[in-house]
């Protein structure tokens, strides 16, 4: 039983990270109907920037502190937001009228560019990472919860709440939602489409950066290809929860993390990746709009 609970805890902490990345996916998809394949690589850049900031340019990683961690994270967020905006401006904006397939190919191209370019720039070797101060794991009723896990879960919840507020209680949030429903009409209503989309990208990239830092703190091996799988899994999580739906992304992330841990634990663990895809396929066949999404019927 303890085992099961431990797996649950592990699943929640893994799921929280998936959720953070999924939030970025879901927002961009909601606004642009684009699966931003490069999102996973922005996440990687977040971790990379964090590593540079804490290990190369400063010595924060040798004496980690909360303040230092926050500073590094902030820097990484800004860097990633800049990258996200750049990608949107250079690669996606020109393709706005094009068929979906073309934009998807471009997204994949950007993803490859970041990965291989990253290998060139940063070198392919993995690097150790640490920005959070070392605290012991808490043990509650025989189950150990890492300090990083607690921080992760807390941060994810806080960020989700902030995001909900932005999306539902601010003007820009309303604009985002308007664009997601009907861009041309929103434009006619005076919404600056370009601004809204850029904002969405920037926001998503900020979240990815935080996810990158937390992920690297939990699995302290940072390298240019680290974003591939988490990116894909986060996308699955977003779809699972209902793409375009913010609480859905959180729920999806959580469920995916749990499923992965439970399936890996109780059956063969090498099928772990297959689990994510299996879930994706299942949900798309059974309820394509996702758990919390609403189906959009096509008017005939």
């Amino acid at each position: 039983m303890i085992d099961f609970l431990q797996r649950l805890v592990d699943g929640v902490s893994l799921g929280a990270i998936y959720a953070l990345i999924a939030l970025g996916y879901t927002m961009v998809y909601g606004v642009l109907q684009l699966i931003n394949f490069a999102h996973g690589d922005v996440f990687m850049l977040g971790a990379m920037m964090g590593w540079y900031a804490s290990s190369v340019w400063t010595s924060e990683s040798r004496n980690p502190s909360i303040a230092g961690a926050l500073a590094v994270t902030l820097f990484s967020m800004l860097a990633c937001a800049a990258v996200g905006l750049l990608i949107e401006r250079l690669a996606y904006r020109p393709l706005r009228g094009s068929p979906r397939l073309n934009t998807l190919i471009t997204a994949i191209g950007v993803s490859f560019f970041l990965e291989y370019g990253g290998q060139l720039l940063f070198g392919p070797n993995p690097r150790a990472f640490g920005v959070l101060p070392h605290r012991a794991s808490s043990v509650v009723a025989g189950i150990s919860i890492g300090y990083v896990d607690l921080v992760t879960i807390l941060t994810s919840v806080v960020l989700m709440i902030v995001l909900q507020r932005i999306v539902f209680h601010t003007r820009i949030g309303t604009a985002m939602r308007a664009v997601s429903w009907n861009p041309s009409v929103a434009a006619l209503m005076g919404v600056n489409i370009d601004l809204v989309i850029s904002f969405t990208f920037g926001l998503g990239s900020l979240l990815a950066a935080v996810a990158g830092i937390l992920y690297a703190s939990k699995y302290p091996s940072v390298h240019p290809l680290m974003g591939l799988m988490p990116g894909l899994k986060a996308f699955v999580a977003a779809v699972l929860g209902g793409i375009g739906n913010v609480p859905g992304a959180m729920l999806g992330g959580l469920l995916l993390g749990l499923a992965e841990q439970l399936v890996s634990g109780y059956t063969s663990s090498s099928w772990r990746d297959a689990v994510a895809f299996g879930i994706l396929i299942l949900i798309l066949l059974v309820k394509p709009s996702g758990l919390l999404g609403r189906g959009a019927a096509e008017k005939v």
């Binding site: 393709l95 073309n102 998807l104 950007v110 490859f112 297959a274």
Partner: protein, 606 residues
């Protein structure tokens, strides 16, 4: 119309002629292989390694084009099917005979692998193909990964280290012979009525379905055929390299093939072929820049998407330049037959909203019935019920004597009920001629295999379809627009084209959804005449949704009025015009006053 001429010799001659390119090519291929490729003195191994890789890439790209390009579905799991075909055939080859001089066993192994891949394609496609664009992409990606994970974890398939040594049974000649076959098959399919069916699915699924095309069936078929050829490519690859490893079948591989299809132009077989060659060779050329190679490749890809998104060739083909135009023929005649729509107490609810309540309608042959009412009354919903887009929550619907519950729209269209759409759903990127031709599709009988074989039946049917299409275009006054893309036609002509397309399906009853929307007075008068002439000439019953009262009153024999999903009146035009409920709900006092004289004087039109 069909001709019963031609001796058996003539037929054989025709078959031989159509496969001539292939027969001619084979000796050349063998010659090149034996004389050049396998000649150690020439040291051209590297060149031919690349040439053979190009050949396999062509098979992959052209087959994927069937799905992604022609049918407009978005699959990025091609590598998975390649793996299935490759591994199944490799396992057979490794357990097969040591010597195989005539390659008989190899062919058996290759076909087995390909069939296994086709089966996998069916298993993946059947449930997934009803998903929308991006989702389908991810699902296919997922399946590809799952297949790879299975291979990696199965010792029988060699696990991580792969299978080796695989007997070297395929080289230049085999690879390129198959590549040629793949191109020919794709070309034949594309040029046949099935090819048009694929295109219609890409252009507008809803309209295609309404024209009697089994869209899901066609999607699955495209998927299965493309998976088959991917399997062949996998088998050839294994037999050529002598090795198979799961690392060769990652998502990256699938994506490379997708890039080829997109670069070449979605739907263009020529384009896919050229792009396959370019994208296979390009990384080799970029070797000189070593570490930068992949970075340059990804930038080049992005640049291509940005600068030339339709790919090199768009949907054009190299052989389109050779196309001869078929001359139009005299129009034929169409006989009327018994027709019946019988709706009883149909109700449909969407969640808490009852869109249509207790609706009943009977349409007899050659009747002209109109359905009017304010916006949101449920008129189009009635059409959707009739054509099978939604099943009724209650009540029965019978079209041409058959209960339509559970029938897909294309089946109902096949029974003889055709429609047009409120918002015009033409196949915009196809010509007027092609739009109407697609309407004829469900009446043809040739199978896909026949299309590929270019048998006699396909010739006859193509001819018949072309003639019928010319006739319809002429009746609709659209002959001069024959080769114009549908999206470029003026609005009024687009509407007429849509009607022509619906008529091409050979219906007994035609449903017209606001055919006069956006037309001016003169056009409306012409439309009235057109509607009547259609009814007379084709003997169809017509059910009309319209807001223009002049048109309605001028054309209909019977009118139903809907308001908030409920039939509030039914009867002759003049009865409706003076019906108080109708006036209150829809026509308005002003109308009643203005037309008081007309109502009193006029009887039922024609």
């Amino acid at each position: 119309m069909p001709f019963f001429g031609g001796s058996a010799l003539k037929r054989t001659g025709k078959a031989v002629r159509s496969w001539l390119p292939f027969f001619i090519a084979i000796p050349f291929l063998v010659l090149i292989e034996q004389g050049i490729a396998l000649n150690p003195a020439l040291r051209l191994e590297y060149v031919f390694q690349n040439i053979n890789h190009i050949g396999i890439a062509i098979i992959l790209a052209v087959s994927l084009n069937l799905v992604n390009g022609l049918t407009g579905q978005f699959s990025i799991g091609h590598a998975g099917f390649m793996a299935v075909g490759g591994y199944v055939s490799a396992v057979m080859l490794m357990r097969g005979p040591q010597e195989d001089p005539y390659r008989i066993f190899f062919v058996v192994a290759m076909l087995t692998g390909a069939l296994a891949a086709a089966l996998a394609g069916w298993l993946v496609g059947k449930p997934s193909l009803r998903l929308r664009g991006d989702y389908l992409a991810i699902v296919t990606l997922g399946f590809g990964e799952i297949i790879r994970v299975i291979i990696e974890n199965t010792p029988f398939f060699g696990g991580a280290i792969g299978l080796s040594p695989i007997p070297h049974r395929a080289d230049f000649a085999w690879i390129w012979a198959v590549a040629i076959v793949t191109i020919l098959v794709a070309k034949r399919l594309r040029d046949s009525t099935h090819g048009r069916a694929f295109l219609s699915v890409r252009e507008d699924e809803v309209a295609a379905e309404a024209m009697g095309i089994d869209t899901t069936g066609y999607k699955v078929r495209a998927f299965v055929i493309s998976a088959f050829f991917a399997g062949v490519a996998g088998a050839l690859s294994g037999a050529f390299e002598g090795n198979l490893a799961p690392q060769s079948f990652t998502f990256v591989r699938s994506f490379e093939v997708v890039a080829m299809v997109v670069l070449g132009g979605m739907g263009s077989i020529t384009g896919s072929t050229i792009a396959a060659a370019v994208l296979t060779i390009l990384p080799e050329y970029l070797r000189a820049v070593a570490n930068l190679r992949m970075v340059i490749y990804s930038i080049a890809l992005i640049a291509l998407m940005l600068l030339r998104p339709r790919g090199l060739l768009g949907t054009r083909e190299v052989w389109d330049w050779w196309r001869k135009r078929r001359p139009p023929r005299a129009p034929g005649r169409r006989e009327a037959s018994e027709a019946l729509i019988d709706v009883r107490h149909a109700t449909i609810r969407f969640g808490g909203l009852t869109a249509v309540c207790d609706f009943s309608l009977e349409v007899r042959p050659r009747e002209l019935v109109a359905l009017i009412g304010p916006n949101g009354a449920g008129k189009t919903t009635v059409f959707n019920l009739l054509t099978g887009v939604y099943p009724p929550s209650e009540g029965t619907i019978k079209v041409l004597g058959r209960d339509t519950r559970g029938l897909a729209p294309h089946a109902i269209a096949h029974l003889g009920c055709a429609r047009t759409f409120q918002n015009i759903r033409l196949f915009r990127e196809l010509t007027a001629f092609d739009n109407v031709r697609i309407g004829c599709h469900h009446l043809t009988h040739e199978s896909m295999a026949a299309a590929v074989r270019q048998g006699e039946l396909s010739d006859q049917e193509e001819k018949w379809v072309a003639e019928r299409t010319e006739e319809l275009l002429e009746i609709m006054g659209l002959t001069h627009r024959r080769d114009e893309l549908a999206k470029n036609l003026p609005y009024g002509e687009q509407r007429r084209l849509e009607i022509a397309r619906a008529l091409a399906t050979g219906p007994q009853v035609l449903l017209l959804d606001e055919p006069a929307a956006g037309t001016n007075t003169r056009e409306k008068t012409e439309l009235m005449a057109l509607i009547r002439s259609i009814r007379d000439r084709f003997g169809v019953a017509i059910v009309l949704i319209e807001h223009d009262m002049k048109l309605v009153m001028g054309v209909s024999e019977r009118i139903l009025v809907l308001d908030h999903g409920v039939t509030i009146a039914e009867g002759l035009p003049r009865e409706i015009q003076s019906n108080a409920k109708v006036i209150e709900a829809y026509l308005g006092e002003k109308y009643a006053k203005e037309h008081a004289a007309q109502i009193a004087a006029a009887g039922s039109p024609r």
